[in-house]
């Protein structure tokens, strides 16, 4: 069971804005889904690491970069070749 405050905490972690009136509905849906996930409690044993292709390396050879113009083309706002972002200070 997750509570409404859990939902608010998760939204915070995920940087997903959530309005007050959405919280009860999200909480209810979450709990219904988590109830469905309970079957996983019956899985036994540790999971092995995922595997996949081992040592998929690349040679250390430079390739062309995007032009500064192309790198900035999709950014919402730019300044002197930099991409503008919200403040962190």
């Amino acid at each position: 069971m997750v509570t409404e405050s859990d939902i608010e905490h998760i939204a915070e972690l995920a940087d997903i804005g959530i309005s007050r009136d959405e919280v009860p509905e999200f909480t209810r849906q979450f709990n219904a889904i988590l109830e469905y996930f309970e079957i996983l409690d019956t899985v036994e044993g540790e999971s092995a690491p995922a595997g996949g292709i081992t040592n998929a390396f690349r040679d250390d050879e430079p390739r062309p970069c995007l032009s500064q113009e192309a790198a900035l083309a999709n950014a919402g706002s730019t300044e002197d070749g930099f991409i503008k972002a919200p403040r962190v200070m």
Binding site: A56, C65, L66, I83, A85, M89
Partner: protein, 471 residues
């Protein structure tokens, strides 16, 4: 009350391309966002592909630090939001790093050898760089040129007992990395340190944001004093993260700025595991600093201090070996005692010094064609030329042009006699037995001859002249 220090060091590996894309790492002289591609910009749909060289460099370090390379290691995503982090996760290694359990030998504060244990080394990508714009509207500017630069994170056990030990550890580590050729210490920000420091029995404080290895001792000294003062006043040390303000030399609490993090690590599904433990045996390590220091003492017969200084930087050591053969001890004195000082004064790198010219200079000194004082003058001329980007003249040509050839006593008798003649008081003092008077007269002659005469020889000539009763 013991001080306990552990370090986390982030080293930018000197690969040609970034960790997961083919963008060049040589971005420092270029404008923002000019060394970027869909991968390091985190554009939707792009995928990482691991740089083999970065893994090889990691293995080289692991072997040099005598570490155990994991049979299988992998990459994980460290999830957090920050404008410099293009994908909102950093690709790093978490549960299964490249290598664990190594050692580095340093000297403790009493000059005894001690071991600092290395917990782990792992590969990860550097985030971009943020510029903070202050003023009425505050915002950030992001440059992703640094995004994806390969970092090797090296984590130590809390084995250091003072800020000085921490500095010595870092110097040693940096030297090893330079010897391995995996790291270019001249690149700005190529080595960054987070330090954990506590006073035995009290809470541990993490000091972040130390961007030079020289800053580490300063930051830790400040922090150790701060913690001791708190304890002395009966207060407790809070377990917290603090930032080092390089300019002011102080640490400030990051409280309120750092949330409780939950990075939600999980294996990066875009990258398979690495299995490279079997490659370690085939790696040929270059000669490392300690071995080279010992060899220098044995092979060249130079002092421990000279050997330590000369092997402290692989380029300096290479330089020394280039100029040493004719007269290793003379070369050691000049390289370690004189040249280094002149370089520091000019903020010059040893790489900019033409070794062949220095070898010629040493030959002139060895043949006593010039005096030490004239040698320093010639050296300065050469370094100034190099620093200004002018061609470096042969030392013999400088000597000729400046008339710096060592003057034998006979050539100078006239000058000596002139000096004696114009300083009767000094002569009288000398005759009265005042030793200082001789030095004064010799000094006057040195001045007149611009260092071309050997001071000892000159002393003899001056005494002879006076005793002959010339005046």
């Amino acid at each position: 009350m013991k001080t306990i220090v552990g370090l986390e060091i982030h080293v930018q590996l000197a690969t040609a391309t970034k960790l997961f894309c083919g963008c060049s790492t040589d971005y420092r002289d270029d404008g923002p966002n000019t060394h970027c591609c869909p991968i390091c910009l985190g554009l939707p749909g792009s995928l990482p592909r691991l740089n083999r060289k970065a893994v090889e460099y990691g293995l080289l370090v692991a072997k040099a630090l005598d570490m155990r390379v994991l049979e299988e290691s992998d990459f994980a995503r460290k999830n957090y939001f920050y404008p410099d982090l293009a994908k909102a996760y950093q690709i790093t290694q978490s549960d299964r790093p490249l290598a664990v359990e190594g050692t580095v030998e340093i000297e403790d504060d009493e000059g005894h050898e001690k071991i600092v244990r290395i917990t782990r080394v792992h590969l990860e990508e550097d985030p971009g760089r943020l510029v903070h714009v202050a003023g009425a509207s505050k915002y950030s500017l992001v440059d992703y040129n640094r995004s994806g630069i390969p970092l090797l994170e090296i984590v130590t056990e809390p084995d250091m007992r003072s800020p000085q030990e921490a500095r010595r550890f870092l110097n040693k580590l940096r030297t090893i990395l330079e010897y391995l050729g995996v790291f270019d210490g001249e690149r700005e920000g190529a080595l960054r340190v987070d330090a954990n420091i506590s006073i035995e029995g009290s809470a541990r404080v993490e000091v972040k944001n130390i961007s030079s290895y020289k800053g580490v001792e300063k930051a830790l000294t400040f922090e150790a004093t701060r913690q001791r003062n708190l304890l002395r006043r009966g207060q407790t040390v809070a377990r917290e993260t603090r930032h080092f303000m390089e300019g002011r030399g102080i640490t400030t609490s990051a409280r309120g700025k750092e949330e409780a993090h939950d990075y939600r690590y999980f294996p990066d599904p875009d990258l398979g595991p690495i299995r490279v433990a079997d490659r370690v045996a085939a790696i040929d390590l270059p000669e490392l600093p300690t071995a080279r220091k010992n060899r220098f003492m044995a092979q060249y017969g130079i002092s421990l201090n000279h050997a330590r200084t000369l092997t402290g930087d692989p380029r300096l050591a290479d330089f020394y070996e280039h100029v040493a053969p004719a007269d290793p001890i003379l070369a050691a004195t000049w390289a370690a005692d004189i040249l280094l000082g002149e370089l520091n004064y000019r903020n010059m790198s040893i790489a900019a010094v033409p070794a062949d010219r220095i070898r010629e200079l040493l030959a002139l000194l060895r043949a006593e064609t010039i005096t030490d004082a004239a040698g320093v003058q010639v050296l300065r001329e050469m370094l100034d030329a190099c620093a200004a980007g002018r061609p470096c003249e042969k030392p013999a040509d400088i000597v000729k042009r400046e008339g710096l050839a060592r003057a034998t006593g006979d050539d100078f008798v006239a000058i000596v006699q002139a000096v004696i003649a114009s300083n009767p008081q000094a002569v009288e003092d000398y005759r009265a037995g005042k030793k200082g008077a001789l030095n004064f007269i010799v000094g006057q002659v040195m001045k007149e001859t611009r260092g071309r005469a050997d001071p000892r020889e000159l002393g003899r000539i001056v005494s002879e002249c006076i005793e002959k009763g010339g005046v």
